[in-house]
Each structure stands twice: as structure tokens, then as C-alpha cells.
């Protein structure tokens, strides 16, 4: 579904992404691990079109989207959440999701409403439907971030540390939502530091360090990899 080839992003002499090759199959749930500054969020920014790569190509369903605008990619089926939620603070929770749901399809409010309500139900936000997004606590902001991404009807969902800052029980609730999304056939790519949560959803893990992929495989293989234990987990091989 997603093919990233020799992708590079340099900021002057700083090589944040330096020749990453990555492919994600339809329906797969891929986890991305890596220490802070490894280039994980930059990789998402390149895939979602918020940054232009220095070199390399990005293909979605075989189509080259390397230079496509962010909105073209959203319409092409790429949805994304951000590590720091980006809600429309003066809009209600319902309206926040409605913005995504109406833009992606050009549907009017009446047509989009059932889908928005379904997403709010799924993300356990129905009771907050009329609340202004600016008044939400962190957990609900994370849920809203996810709901907004789902509003665009994504086939590929990029999750950037969606579980960050949540308590254990909140994390469990979030995992249940992600499992439902996964079961609907949505391809998931999830950057996360909370490994125990990540491996409950991810069927494959890759590890990014200093702009390069240093491991790729099943969660068990990757977590046992000597380089990963050394570079990421800080455990001597």
C-alpha cells in the first residue's frame, strides 16, 4: 500500500532522514520505534506531505505522491494524528470531526452526520459531542485527534505517539479502539514509545535511529535484536 524508497530529509548538514526504505502492506499494523530525534515524526511529515523530501520517492497504492499536496494525500486515503493534538479549539467536538468528514468527500452536514456520530461512538466521545475542543482534558484530546483522522475515511492511518501521556487504563481503552479500526481493514503505522501498547496492535516493528532503519521484523525478533536493545532500550548487547 505504501512504498517509501531512499527517502531523505536534510536540514542543512543535519540528516534527519537519510535513505529510508519502507513498505507497508494493505491491512498491516506497523509499529515504529526509535529514540527521540531519530526522525520518526519527520518521516510522518514526509509521508503526509507536511514536509518535502530532499530526495527519494513515496508511493501510495503504486502512485507517486512524493510532491502531492497534503490535501491530495488526505483524499488519497492518508489520515494522520499528531503527537501534540491540533484541535480546532473554538469548534465543538462534533464540528471538529465534521470538518474532516465533510472535506474528504465533499459531503454536506446531513450526509456526514451519521458517519461523524459513528466515529464519536467508536472514539468514546459521544458524551462530549457539544463540548468545545479547547475545554477537553488530555485523554479526550487524544481521542479527538484520532476521531479527526478517522473523519477523513483513511485507508492508511499514521498515529504519532497517540498513547503518550495516558495512564495504563486509558491506554487499554485506546488499544480497544485501535483494534476495532484495525479489524475494519485500515492499515496502521504507529510511532510509539510505549512498547507494551505498541506490540499489542503491531504485527511488525521497525526501528529508526539517526535517520536510518536499523531493524525490521516481528515484534519478538526486533525486541530481541542486539542493536535495538543497545541503541533504543539502552541495554548492552
Amino acid at each position: 500500500m505504501l512504498e517509501v524508497s531512499q527517502l531523505k530529509k536534510h536540514f542543512g548538514a543535519l540528516k534527519v532522514i537519510d535513505g529510508v526504505n519502507l513498505s507497508v502492506a494493505r491491512g498491516e499494523a506497523l509499529g515504529i520505534l526509535g529514540p527521540n530525534g531519530a526522525g520518526k515524526s519527520t518521516l510522518f511529515n514526509l509521508i503526509s506531505g507536511n514536509l518535502s523530501p530532499t530526495a527519494g520517492t513515496i508511493r501510495l497504492n503504486g502512485e507517486d505522491i512524493t510532491r502531492a499536496s497534503p490535501w491530495t494525500r488526505v483524499r488519497g486515503g492518508i489520515g494522520r494524528t499528531f503527537q501534540i493534538p491540533h484541535p480546532f479549539v473554538h469548534l465543538s467536538v462534533f464540528e471538529n470531526v465534521l470538518v474532516s468528514a465533510t472535506q474528504a468527500s465533499g459531503r454536506g452536514i446531513a450526509v456526514a452526520r451519521p458517519e461523524v456520530n459513528r466515529i464519536l461512538d467508536l472514539c468514546q466521545l459521544s458524551h462530549r459531542s457539544r463540548t468545545l475542543a479547547g475545554d477537553l482534558p488530555l485523554l479526550d484530546l487524544k481521542r479527538l485527534e484520532l476521531a479527526k483522522a478517522l473523519g477523513t475515511s483513511p485507508r492508511l492511518l499514521l498515529l504519532d505517539e497517540i498513547a503518550g501521556g495516558l495512564t495504563n487504563s486509558e491506554c487499554v481503552a485506546l488499544l480497544a479502539i485501535l483494534e476495532t479500526i484495525k479489524s475494519e481493514g485500515v492499515t496502521i503505522v504507529w510511532i510509539e514509545h510505549i512498547v507494551h501498547a505498541l506490540i499489542k496492535v503491531a504485527t511488525r516493528l521497525v526501528v529508526l535511529a539517526e535517520g536510518n532503519l536499523i531493524a525490521n521484523g516481528t515484534p519478538e525478533t526486533v525486541m530481541a535484536d542486539a542493536k535495538v536493545r543497545d541503541l533504543y532500550l539502552g541495554v548492552e548487547a
Binding site: 503526509s48 507536511n50 497534503p70 490535501w71 494525500r73 488526505v74 483524499r75 494522520r80 499528531f82 491540533h86 484541535p87 480546532f88 479549539v89 473554538h90 469548534l91 464540528e95 471538529n96 465534521l98 470538518v99 474532516s100 465533510t102 472535506q103 474528504a104 459531503r107 454536506g108 452536514i109 456526514a112 468545545l132 479527526k148 483522522a149 473523519g151 477523513t152
Partner: protein, 287 residues
Amino acid sequence: MTGLLDQIIQAVLLGGLYAIFALGLAISVGVLKFINVAHGDLIVAMSFLMLTLTNSLGLPVPVALIVLIPVGAGVGWLLQFGLFQRAASQNELQIILITFGLSVIIQNGLLGLYGADTRKVTAGGIEMASINLFGNINAGVLPLIIFVTACLLIVGLEQILYRTGLGIQIRAIADAPAAAKLVGLRLAGLMAVAMAMVGITEAVSGGLMSIWTNFDPSSGSSRLLIAFEVVVLAGLGSFWGVLVGGIIIALAQTFGGMIDSAFQMLAGHIVFLVLFLFRPQGLFPKT
């Protein structure tokens, strides 16, 4: 006492015209995030276009007003897409300077086309017609029409911005343009639609102003000042707040004029400054 009540009613009705002046600027500032210095000149340009449509082409006033609306929308859309959007991608100061330049171009263009004379569109009997509200209190039909138009514009704008998908998307880009881009909204297109809405308010206010009062190519700056004061006074929380702001400025001018006719405009500015000092966020700020 009747005289005072009569003055208040006339001021409230004048507040309707001021609110229409300000609605477009409120959208500019609230959604597009820039102060359009040419706002008043665009209103005056619409007044001159109204003059051409009625005097030169012989269209009846109501028809000319209807013709102005799509023209205003088109001018707004083109300005945003062709000019402001390019400048907005540079920096905030640049776009203000560009609108300042646009203001100079419009003023001089109008001066070249129509000359410096003061003009007014004649609408026939409706200008002098009045209806009895109660007791000895009468209200002009034209000011009443303008006030009702202001209310209808506000209702229309609120319906569009709060009840349609397009409007909610426009509010989203006003709230957080970066976040809007991230869920796939096309900012340039939506901003052009918002500017088309501004253009409609400019067309309506220019058209109505041309019937109510005299205008000349340099009238734009005084309209901009009124619009600016009304928007700052109202805050950006509600279009109804803009109507209240318009009424407050009109009331201040009316009471100022009762003290001394030379004091009329100054009174509006003083009330604006005093309210601004005590409530800089406006009377109806965005919550």
C-alpha cells in the same frame, strides 16, 4: 422626551448601516487574519458601480442592488485568489501594505473615472417615505430596510458559518489554519470563498450607502474607520455583536451631535476609545 426617543431610534437604524460596513471587515480579521485597508474603498467602489448601473444603464435601484451582489462576490474571490493569497504566504505586514496600495489605486481610479464630485444615487419616493412606529415616533422606510438588511445578512452569515459544512470548514481555518491543512482542507479555496462573502457585504453596504448618503472617491477611509471601530468594539465572538457595536457608535455620534454638530464624529471615536480602554477584547470576544 419624544425627540430623544426619536433620535435614539434613528441612531439604532444608522447602526444597521455601520454594522453592514463592519461585517466584511469582521470576516477579514476573524477568518482571513488581516486588516483590509481597502475595505472602505471597495465599499465606495460598489457605490459608484451602483451609480453607473442606475444612472448610466438605467436599471431600477432594487435590480442594481441585486446585480451588485455577484459582482461583489466575484471581486472578493478574485482579490483573495489573485492577490491577497500570494501576499499572505509572505508575511502579515506585506498584506496590509498591499491592501493600502489597493486603497490608493481604487481611490485614484474612481477619481479618474468619476471625478472628485460628491455623488448620490436617487431612489425616488422611498428616500423620503416613513412609517409611524408608535405615538409621534416615525422611522424612515429606507433606514428600516437597511437595518432589516443588516439583520438578514447577519442571520445569513451565521447560518452559512454554523450550519453548513463549508461554513464549518471556514471556521476551522479561522481557528487553526495549520491544523486545517493537516486534515486536508484547501486553505486558498476556502479563504477565497470567505473573501467572496466579504465582497457581498461590501456590495450590499456600498449599494445601500449610495442611496442613503453622499459619497465621493475619498469616502472610503471614513467608512473603514467606522468599520474598524465597530469590529474592535464588538470583538470577534458574534456577528450580532457587530450590530451592537454599530449601534453604540451610531448612538455616540447622535448624542455627540445633540451637544454640538461639530462633536458628532468625535463622540463616536471617544466612546470607542473609552470602551477599548476598559474592554480591549471587545464586548463579544471569541470564547
